[in-house]
């Protein structure tokens, strides 16, 4: 009286040799560089990350992974970046690697030749890039842009407020969406042109992040900083998917991290002479989190492989939908299952739950992506 009525169908996950190597290296790197005490110390710091660790990552070539060799990178793909971001997420290691990688992809997809030649080698070499995509309306659709740019001769004069720009303060370059003549456009802003008063630190739910709002009013940049208008729409669309992919990687890692601390507690804490991990209500919940994580990781590595194919959009949205909800649940249960200790700031569970809010509510939450999956899969 048992038979699986749903056959496992073969389906394609590609996984390169480089991915395998990077995954292994990134796992031990993240464990070494980001024990939880370090993560907590960095929360108290100004920049939120360790410059030395960043330098090591640059030296390992991680900032150039998905940048072509001609621009100083190693010519691999974002799929390889996924294998770094996942272990980093597990250890809550916060760095500008994701934003810099995404910025490089935007440049590759819609930058002018001059922009690419100028910026990409610098990014591969560790120059930090930040992304100014969010505005007051809170919409996840990054083509919904209200900040404006007016071209006059050789310069573009910007106005409006960008929010939730992570690592803006340490960035070399900030890529911003700007509406020019009503059309969503991309522009590179040299951080030197931003007055320090225009940058205001924000209080965000994930304390490992450094987020800023930027008042663009009065900032002018050369018109040559505008990206190729014909390629911008497509680049933004791909950016959305890439962002979702890397957030999914972070969320998968984070889910595993939340599980780690919870399992450790369940295996050591006793009540009424039993390890609390022996109680079914806790045990079964952890199994649910595990199986959901397995699904999320399968979506993640599937999406990493197919992102630039016809299957890409659906694959990425599945990864984002699954991993967002998982991580939130794993973080929520991590707090709950730590009991009274879970309610304290000292318990690490809250760090993961805060991070889960952060990753889930960027670039669309599960409901948002399932709505778009319905169009892709059911119509």
């Amino acid at each position: 009286m048992s038979e699986n009525t749903n056959m496992i169908k073969k389906a394609g996950i590609t996984f390169s040799e480089e991915q395998g190597q990077l995954l292994e290296i990134a796992e031990s790197f993240s464990r070494d560089k980001a024990p939880i005490a370090t993560v907590r110390n960095l929360i108290e710091s100004e920049t939120g990350f360790d410059k030395d660790v960043w330098t090591e990552m640059v030296n390992l070539g991680w900032l150039g992974i998905a940048i072509p060799e001609e621009f100083g990178g190693s010519g691999l793909s974002v799929a390889e970046v996924v294998t770094i971001v996942e272990p980093m997420g597990r250890m809550l290691l916060a760095t500008p690697l994701v934003s810099t990688t995404l910025a490089a992809q935007l440049l590759l997809n819609a930058g002018t030749t001059a922009q690419k030649q100028d910026l990409l080698p610098r990014m591969a070499g560790g120059a930090i890039a930040a992304l100014a995509m969010h505005e007051e309306h809170g919409d996840w659709d990054i083509s919904h842009v209200t900040c404006t740019g007016v071209i006059s001769g050789d310069t573009v004069t910007l106005s409006g407020i960008k929010r939730l720009v992570t690592d803006a303060k340490v960035a070399d370059t900030i890529l911003a969406t700007i509406s020019i003549a009503g059309i969503p456009s991309l522009v590179a802003i040299d951080s030197g042109s931003i007055d320090s008063a225009a940058l205001q630190r924000e209080t965000v739910i994930d304390e490992t992040r450094r987020s800023y709002r930027i008042n663009l009013d009065g900032i002018s940049v050369p018109a040559t900083n505008i990206f190729d208008a014909e390629k911008t729409a497509a680049a933004l669309k791909r950016y959305h998917l890439l962002s979702c992919l890397l957030l999914s990687a972070e969320a998968c890692g984070g889910t595993a991290g939340a599980m780690d601390i919870t399992l450790n507690y369940l295996n050591t804490r006793r009540t009424f002479d039993r390890f609390i991990g022996s109680y079914q209500s806790l045990k079964h919940t952890m199994v649910d989190i595990l199986t959901d994580l397995e699904a999320a990781r399968s979506f993640l590595y599937y999406a990493a492989g197919v992102i630039d194919t016809d299957e890409g959009e659906a694959a990425v949205r599945m990864a984002k939908a699954q991993s967002s909800d998982n991580f939130a649940y794993a973080g929520d249960r991590a707090i709950q299952f730590h009991g009274g200790f879970g309610f304290t700031y000292e318990c690490d569970a809250q760090l993961f739950r805060r991070r889960a809010f952060w990753t889930a509510n960027q670039s669309g939450d599960a409901i948002y992506h399932r709505k778009r999956l319905a169009t892709l899969l059911l119509d």
């Binding site: 996840w140 929010r163 009274g340 700031y345 509510n361 409901i367």
Partner: protein
Amino acid sequence: MSETLPCIEAFKKEVNQWVTKNKPAPPTFLMPQSFMEVGTDEQFEYLREWQEKVYNAGYLGMSWPTEYGGGGMPEIYQDVVNKELVAQNTPFMVNTLGLNWAGPLILNMGSDEQKKAYIKKILSTEEIWCQGFSEPDYGSDLGNAQLKAERDGSEFVLNGSKIWTTLATQAQRMILLARTNTNTESKYDGLTFFLAPMNVDGIEAQPIKKLTGEHGFCQTFFNDARISEDCIIGKEGGGWLVAMKTLMFERGAEGGQAGGHTSMPVTVEEVAELSKRVYRDGKPANQDPMVRDELVKLLMRGKAMSLNGARSKIPALISERPTSIAMSVKMLATELSKSIGDQATSLQGSNSLYFVGDDYAVDGGRWQRTYFQAFSGTIGGGTTQIQKNIIGERVLGLPKK
């Protein structure tokens, strides 16, 4: 307050006018939802002043005896005041523990000296009270309290620690459950209940930083702290009974509280209202079909709780399992609070990434904080998981083992 009782309708009007005129200006900080969230001196002082003002106006402890500082009036007058305080969304009474637990307990079981010493100061905020029940290693298993109180002549020497001692850094008094005898046959018989002073050598309260990053709870350490035997309420060794009585007051299962309202809860209706003024996916959140469905489920949970309350007053409709609704209220209410915080946060699109302290956080980050704060309810006083065991065993009669 006049000697002859005013008529209720006139009194309502009087109270309405007083509250309208005297309620404090909105604070610059995000208002805590209950005394358990008071984390800064600024918050505490704002709330303390308000309670003092209400008491001085004669609107607190109205049905408590006049000889101890109360108003000596029928409860209905306090009810009128309570309703008006809630209706006008005034701050809650910060000395919650004194007004709702310690005060009724002392009036019920305390000696005349104790009543004289404590009751009025509870009302006037001259003495803030905290509670010392839970201990770090025993969670809410009160019967296992280990804090030692050894008799030395007419004094007791306290050693150990208590956790979740809300407002302990502000408090002058603590209701304290301690072990005065470690050799009793039943562990319950070794417990004694004290009305302990906090300003004593060897008692030190240390704030606990909550997961929200705010303060509001403490751990209180006792190192050879000496208190007088006069602090005992009830009998030496009879602390368990007193503790159970106190919990009855806490849960509102027994009346006698001083009045005023004690928390500013979040409601499902507020989330529905929020959904109209935050945007996600390019539209007001309340226009997204999936969000709508989630909100309806949330509204139904809120409505079901209030209807359960109404139904529990109709014996014929709870006859089969009379304790079912009452025993699940805590679990359902606290889980609902968490869902409220979670859903209200998720409504906000990328603006949900802000937190308390950011100028641009929706409603000052109230919803994010509500979510995290709600764990105090789903964990404290017996976790949701423990509640389910209890309900399964006591209401459904399922076997423990």
